[in-house]
Amino acid sequence: MTTTEVVDMISVVIDGFEVSVPKGTLVIRAAEKLGIQIPRFCDHPLLDPVGACRQCLVDIEINGRAFPKPQASCTIPVEPGMIVKTQLTSAVAEKAQRGVMELLLVNHPLDCPVCDKGGECPLQNQAMSTGQGETRFEGTKRTFQKPINISSQVLLDRERCVLCARCTRFSAQIASDPFITLNERGALQQVGIYEKQPFESYFSGNAVQICPVGALTGASYRFRARPFDLVSTPSACEHCASGCDMRTDVRRGKTLRRLAGDDASVNEEWNCDKGRWAFKYVTALDRLSTPKIRNSDGILVEASWPEALAAAAAGLSANKSAVLVGGRATYEDAYGYSKFARIALGTNDIDFRARLSSDEEREFLAAHVVGSTTTYRDIDGADQVLLVAFEPEEESPIVFLRLNKQFRKRALKVTAIATKLSIGVEKLKGEFVKVAPGAEASALSSQSLTNKSVILVGERAAESAGLLSAVAALAQSSGAKLAWIPRRAGERGALEAGAIGNLLPGGRPVSDAAARVDIATAWSTQSLPSENGKSASEIIAAVNSGSIGALVIGGVDPLDNSDSAQTLAALDKAFVVSLEIAPSAVTERANVILPVAAVTEKSGSFLNWEGRPRTFDSAVADTHNRSDLRILSMIADEMGRSISLATVTAAAKEIASLGRWDGAKISLNKVSVATAPSLSSDQAIITSWRRLLDLGTLQQGEENLAATSRQTVAVISPKRADALGVKDGDRLTISTELGSVTLPALVEEIHDDAVWAPRNSRGSQLLSQLGVAHGAVVKVAKA
């Protein structure tokens, strides 16, 4: 909606008060504007009106002509001359509502003491406010079998259902996963799933959250607590770059559930199942609690904080050092790493991209992403959205919901340049431009975009040489808005904080002397290193060649890179200071391990893909763990080169005072597209992406959630299937010199040269099993 749009306003009288609302507003919303609460169950502002529960009956009169019966205020839009009398002023409306409530309760079981919704239940509350104290029903209540699993994560108790159809409408309208529906009629009407298709939507948790009774409950929160036990903290989701507003409910120091927060400009009222249910890693992982140092015998032993800090400082001072910080750090922590590298270590050798990346990407980020202002609003107003190396449903689910909303509302045109047709793009009825892995750039030239179009490019674009150059050129020539959507929550923040070799905080290019002076002045230091730092892979290579001797590593999994053997060798060789929450391949090889706080235990902020700050407070108050920032500050003090960042607040203040760079940006040197490899008949080019629910570290400890993940398959084209003599479900082996994976085959829309498998799912961890994930030649054979 643009601000210039003229909105017709209509005046109506509700309970004797006049209110002016835009044309098309529902009576129930107009009443809300006056502060008049009409009881309701089925009504939800983000779902289409349905008038299923009949609880919101009111008396309506238009221009002196009254409706003969009370009307459902959630389905009737306001009209000029309308006089509405709610339960507050109309005895008829009040009686009607009381009658509906009585009927709703006829078959509702007296489960309140055992029901998870008890204490925060709209039915309970409204039965108290608009129901009557005594029941007149003397018959036998209809019963159903008590909870049935409609997925491993969601339980359905049909006895409690008031048939408001919120869950079915959500699934059909918002998520486009119409896996549940209302079956049967009359008293036996019930929510049901298709016989062999469980409710395995990535967004099923929202249905649980909006259920106005306890009919849908989550398995992980089942019988865990009552609302009065919980301390709720507004928080931000740490799982992806969508930037959902969240609420974390903690009971006695333990997170019991997370709910989607309400932020109309980002996640509206929704989130994905990963954000909602994957929080047990904090307690499930075998957390580190005390610092450890490697003694002279090469064994890791527990140490006191002063000992460990002294050992870290000594090792880092004695060697030329570099910093590797994963994409999970908060904005403030990333700023801490960035400042630590420059001041304490005196180097620009820092990289937050703990994944497949390229130098082209680094230039692209500095030239086109840092400081970018493309937002969800631009998607709302776009005439066309082009997805490049980006699967919104798997990699940034709220972007998918926003695309889906616009697709449903106004048939937004979505074009996906991808190697394989995905379920998400199929649901968006998107145009699928089929390309071979590595050849994505070639398909861009045929795209005609306008300055109202939006290009969403994913982090996987770095895996195809020349693609980001082509994307930048297309954006430039068409004037389309460009947004880079990484998968991890901290990447955009780390970029803005300068946790990368070619940028200082605020998007200041290292190569620009004025930019360096800016930061040096703010940091009260004489000078800053002037050469562009090394990228992650160069840092690893430098360690292996001996020119870098020490590494500070925070939140990095070496297996996220294709040359994991190289990385592990580097970790063995270098003096490694590891800031981690749990033991990992890095801590095993570290010389000093410093335990840090998990996201729920600290405050801070993430920048989502828009660059919008998502601040959060610590949800668990009595933790002993410190943030990365605090620890880095202590090491720097120990080294005698203070970074003066004692608290998150101090860091946030300093970031704000630095502001953004308004000078010239780095320009992107065009990289040409690699020539397509020639393939023999048993060869294919591998392509893959990570699924939303997979073997990610932050999803550990939540088996119910993992059980709803999509089936692990290897996808090949019909042509290749014919050539190999493979049908759906046959076993297919993909192999490289390093190893192989064998998966059930799925014949689907995919480029004939390509074979697809999930990157990090059960039975298919391509980077560690094959050593490649995109664009490389692999062998494909029937197993």
Binding site: V114, G118, R224, R226, D229
Partner: protein, 204 residues
């Protein structure tokens, strides 16, 4: 910033404006009035003494005395507590902590879906008001007449579920065990389960 709010001027009150209530003091009574007072004392010497030589002698309390709590059982031994936390909710002293959990076929502690996994009453906080008893939907929580609740340490005064559970009476089986064959949780709540069935004795 809103404008500075003018401070309210203090009211000036003089001591002379304040009215003090006059304490009515009756004058000295006559001799017979004094004798009447001593007569009460004198006659009490011949009445039955109320003092009990506690702890050597223990008198039963009133029938509805609010003493230590008890978590009751159904007639077959299953726990009545469903872990609903309504007692904790009702408690004005925040003395009760309950955590519920899921009954499974292998581990059934109570009829129905839910049982109380953790149940603690902190007798340092409990004020014995009995609101928890009123709140309990299954009559799982009642109060006994036991009043000897002093101890040497704070820890010992936090009673766990095992301390509060009623003993197994004749015919009861220690949970976990399945429900009485052919009975549902509603039958239990209606008091239709009168004892245990041999098939419920799964631990043998």
């Amino acid at each position: 910033m809103p404008d500075q709010i003018e401070p309210i001027a203090p009211r000036e009150i003089s001591v002379n404006d304040v009215e003090f209530a006059q304490v009515v003091q009756n004058g000295p009574k006559g001799f017979f009035d004094q004798l009447k007072g001593f007569w009460v004392t004198f006659i009490t010497m011949f009445k039955k003494v109320n003092t009990v030589q506690y702890p050597e002698v223990k008198e039963p309390t009133a029938e509805r005395f609010h003493g230590r709590h008890q978590l009751n059982r159904h007639e077959d031994g299953l726990e009545k507590c469903i872990g609903c936390e309504l007692c904790a909710w009702a408690c004005p002293a925040d003395a009760i902590l309950v955590e519920g959990d899921n009954n499974t076929e292998e581990n059934r502690m109570s009829p129905g879906e839910r049982y109380g996994k953790v149940y603690q009453i902190n007798y340092l906080r409990c004020i014995f008001c009995g609101l928890c008893i009123e709140a309990c939907p299954t009559r799982a929580l009642t109060m006994t007449n036991e009043y000897e609740l002093a101890d040497g340490s704070r820890d010992k005064l936090i009673f766990e579920k095992a301390d509060l559970l009623a003993p197994l009476r004749q015919g009861m089986l220690a949970p976990p065990h399945p429900m009485y064959p052919g009975m549902e949780d509603t039958n239990y709540y209606r008091g239709e389960v009168k004892g245990s069935h041999p098939s419920q004795d799964v631990q043998k």
